[in-house]
Subunit: 242 residues, 2 copies
């Protein structure tokens, strides 16, 4: 089967660094799903506004940083970031991009449906999408709680790290010129610890680009929790316009 | 993107008639997911047994009865069976097979992982798969409750019909020679009303094939509930070996 791109994701995630490992709709970070001309048909979205959540099927594409679609052979095992990158798991036991068919699956909250004022293209506004800006979308389906929701599902090796967040503090004056919405998004991204797995050097300065702003920060880890997670504080040193 | 088939579903659903419209893991109807030789690698499943639920991404293929993959153009609107087949909804507000990219998405409960005794092929045993026998599988992912489960999601037009089941009664002697497991599955399928949407003729005799058996039944509807569903009784007249 050959997949056609029906839409592209548009958001502030122009940089792979910073993309949440798992989407959290509570973050309130918004993404626009902009339909391609052939699929930009208002009727195709009739009734979708009755659903609070949607599924996106999307491609781990070149924009993801690694050339997933062409370059690599699939590998039976991968090193999940949430296990620190030093333990191997079967690829079908993970959400790794390096799978035989590099399709991603993400549930999002539907915020709105509209035609873009300039282009006239149909758009869905969603929150909770862990997608890079420019990610190709292959399908959009309604979320059906009676078949899709299993709140008590056992999460295997992913269980321990499910609720891991950091505290975020801004240096004086920092973020003063940044629009509220962007500042909110940056704070949410930092709370989820965008560092590569198990890097724990409080002197190391990280840089992350989001929505046209460059964020410089360090992470003061207070130590390892019994579940293997870090607890700690993100100190934002600078936020500059790129 | 071109998708490779990694596995095929194997179960008793050799007939399109009878496939549940939405999968219900409680049904206990089992499906084997049999990996293709290239992907039949035990390491690729390492850690998967820690997850209670999985996602299957699969193809609405020729076996679905309609030649979805080649024949039809996509249509912006479809007539969902649960609305009686007489109201149109946008294709992205439905799980209809007639979508730009005919990929299906189903969550299943993982029952077991094993190598087949005869072929040596790796298999997953799952329950709750609403798939025809022979359906191609393109991806298998772990279900993560903290990102995938939204028990309070609003189900739009699909809400009203979420909990609709019928009572099933067997005629005397009927089902006596049928193996317990097959009889259990047939009962579960009938409970979910396999009739085409809004057919309501108590004199009409239906035939359904499942796992090598042909079931003959009628449905005595007691009337329409306020939510538009039928309530009623399935009377099984005959179950014969095909």
């Amino acid at each position: 089967m050959t997949l056609k791109v029906i839409a592209y994701a548009r958001n502030g995630f122009t940089d792979k660094f910073g993309i949440p490992r798992q989407s959290r709709e509570e973050s309130g970070i918004e993404t626009r799903i902009v339909f391609e001309p052939e699929y930009s048909v208002p009727e195709a979205l009739r009734g979708i506004d009755g659903f609070s959540h949607l599924w996106l099927l999307w491609g781990f594409s070149k924009v993801q940083g690694d050339d997933v679609t062409c370059a690599r052979e699939w590998s039976p095992t991968v090193r999940p970031p949430r296990l620190g990158g030093n333990k191997r798991m079967g690829v079908f036991a993970t959400r790794s991009p390096f799978r035989p068919n590099p399709i991603g699956l993400t549930s999002v909250r539907l915020i709105g449906v509209k035609a873009n004022g300039e282009s006239g293209r149909m758009e869905l506004i969603v929150s909770g999408a862990d997608l890079l800006d420019g990610t190709p979308i292959y399908d959009i389906k309604p979320y059906l709680s009676f078949s899709d929701s299993h709140p008590d599902a056992a999460n295997g090796f992913a269980e321990a790290t499910a609720d891991y967040t950091l505290e975020v503090r801004m240096a004086d004056e920092c973020g003063r010129d940044v629009p509220d919405k962007v500042l909110h998004d940056i704070t949410e991204i930092l709370r989820q610890d965008p560092r590569p797995a198990y890097q724990d050097d409080p002197t190391r300065e990280y840089k992350m680009d989001y929505a046209g702003w460059r964020v410089t920060f360090v992470v003061e880890a207070n130590g390892k929790e019994p579940n293997g997670n870090y607890s700690g504080t993100v100190l934002v040193r600078k936020i500059e316009k790129i």
